[in-house]
């Protein structure tokens, strides 16, 4: 088993590397280059040439890639073109906001979806199951900003219970924080819960059709025991995969939510960076998001491997 885990780890690192190549390639293959973007209107041929020399843009792409990668690994994320500040500083101040949002949403959505998914799998075909199925179908089909806007309209505009912008200050007490963050966290959770619940349900139902489940039923065991003691241990592996998949989906959803509710987070930084063609910023943010996603998938894979008794106790 350890060998399989080690292989998986190596594969994960390889994917990470490939991802960095893709990011670098996407941003560096430009019609115009960074020097032009910096000088903007003031560019003359000599100024461009000097700047390029200074910035080392005349070196071959591979050299520049390794330079960038090396810098990344050591913590130097480059300098923003727009603000001239080190990118690392800019990210640090925003990262906590995004992280907090994501962690809160995860803490709520994961247990909720698992419970709902299990419940509707147990009562498959019943009224509760059908209602949940319809609701989640609607939720995943609907664009996230729609959910966010509706929630905003109801709770912030009409009822005025919660805040429409998620700005928090360090001196806020619990309730003020709650008012500010409730809507973005809820919006993010809705979409994720819908996906996760459906996938949990179908993984568990899939297990119900396994032949050993019939045998267990014919031993006279009641439904609850069948689900919890027989189905669940086998469902661990697919469920873990589902969770990882959806947590990484959340990384995508965060972008929209932060925009709708004006959360001063990392994704906002990225979107602004994209509009301004701030290459170093884009590269750094993309790398961070990509790494988180890859690491989450890696974790899920490894946990899946450990949950498989065939691999834990080999012949």
């Amino acid at each position: 088993m350890l060998r399989i885990i080690a292989t998986r780890l190596a594969q994960g690192l390889l994917t990470l590397l490939l991802a960095s190549v893709i990011i670098f390639a996407a941003t560096e293959i430009l019609p115009g280059d960074v020097a032009e973007a910096i000088l903007g209107q003031n560019r003359t041929e000599e100024a461009l040439a000097t700047l390029r020399e200074e910035m080392g843009l005349n070196r071959p792409a591979i050299v520049r890639y390794f330079d960038w990668l090396g810098g990344m690994v050591q913590g130097d994320l480059g300098t923003s073109l727009a603000t001239k500040r080190p990118v690392a500083d800019m990210i640090e101040s925003r990262m906590w906001n995004t992280l907090r949002l994501a962690l809160l949403a995860a803490a709520i959505s994961v247990p909720l979806s698992l419970a709902l998914g299990l419940w509707s799998a147990m009562r498959a075909g019943g009224r509760v199951d059908k209602t949940l199925a319809m609701t989640t179908l609607a939720l995943i089909a609907v664009p996230e900003f729609f959910v966010g806007l509706i929630l905003m309209k109801i709770f912030a505009v009409e009822l005025r219970w919660l805040s429409a912008t998620a700005n928090t200050r360090p001196y806020y007490d619990f309730w003020e924080n709650f008012r500010a963050l409730a809507l973005p966290v809820a919006t993010l959770s809705f979409a994720v819960v819908a996906h996760m619940m459906r996938m949990t349900r179908s993984s568990v139902i899939n297990i119900f059709t396994s032949p050993y489940m019939e045998m267990a039923a014919l031993k006279g065991l009641p439904k609850r025991r069948l689900v919890l003691r027989h189905a669940l241990p086998n469902a661990l592996s697919p469920i873990l995969t589902v969770i990882a998949l959806n947590l990484s989906y959340m990384v995508s959803g965060v972008i929209i939510v932060e925009t709708v509710f004006g959360v001063p987070g990392l994704t906002r930084l990225l979107v602004d960076g994209v509009s301004l063609r701030d290459i170093p910023l884009i590269q750094a943010c993309a790398m961070i998001f990509g790494s988180v996603y890859i690491l989450l998938n890696l974790l899920a894979d490894i946990l899946s491997i450990m949950a498989n008794p065939r691999l834990r106790y080999p012949k």
Partner: protein, 291 residues
Amino acid sequence: MSDTSDIVVPRKPTFAGLRLTRTAIFAGSVLLFWLVLALFGPWIAPHGEAEIISGQTFAPIGEGGLLGTDKLGRDVLSRLIYGVRTTLLLALVTTVISFAIGVTLGFAAAILKGWFDIVVSRIVEAFMAFPSTLLALVVIGAFGTSITVLVLTVGLVLSTSVFRVSRALGYDIGVMDFVEAARARGEGTWWILTREILPNSTAPLIAEFGLRFTFSILFLSGLSFLGLGVQEPAADWGLMVQENVGGLFLGSSAALIPAACIASLTVSMNLLVDWFQQRQQGETVLEKIDQ
């Protein structure tokens, strides 16, 4: 001989008696409605796409235009109608592109196996390592916001999922005995792909097409919402939502109406795909205990 005169089991084609449910009919009608609107839009819309009809911006429903006006005083209804065409057309083109790339590569990987499969699968995995929005952001950030870039990027992002589905299908069907029999006969790869594997993949691929189409709409509208998709003054639903968010606090629904329209399109499509796939589901052991 008992088996030469056996009773015939009637064949069930994919659309056997259609077996439409109420939800399927409802979903289908919604989609049909939007399709008709897309085709005949310009003749139905009361005003032009970018025509400013009123000095009153963010007019509520009923005043100014039938559904109110937007942030520049343009008729929401007309822009909505023009928006259908943009939305549906873009979604269709991107889905078709994703299928062209994904299906070709996916089946090729399943049939050729070996190095080709390993290399392509790794690359696709690396692409899937990004949340799709992020990838689009990076590419658009680098190449700008033209329609071509948009369509190609979204098509590329969608193709990763299509690749996975096609590859899995190719493998599953490729190991069936009738494919082996064709191979043993001496048939070439092209024959096996088009005459043996493809005809057996139509149902799952149709479902996947529906799902990608929906995702494309959501994705494109999300990008427009972020200001990176279709640009002004075109009437795109996602763009309309983003433009008119400011009106929310003024009591205008100019942002909610296009969002609701997007939702109706995607929900209906999802319901339809769900119905298509659900027809094969049966009971489970748990239900039998209660009988």
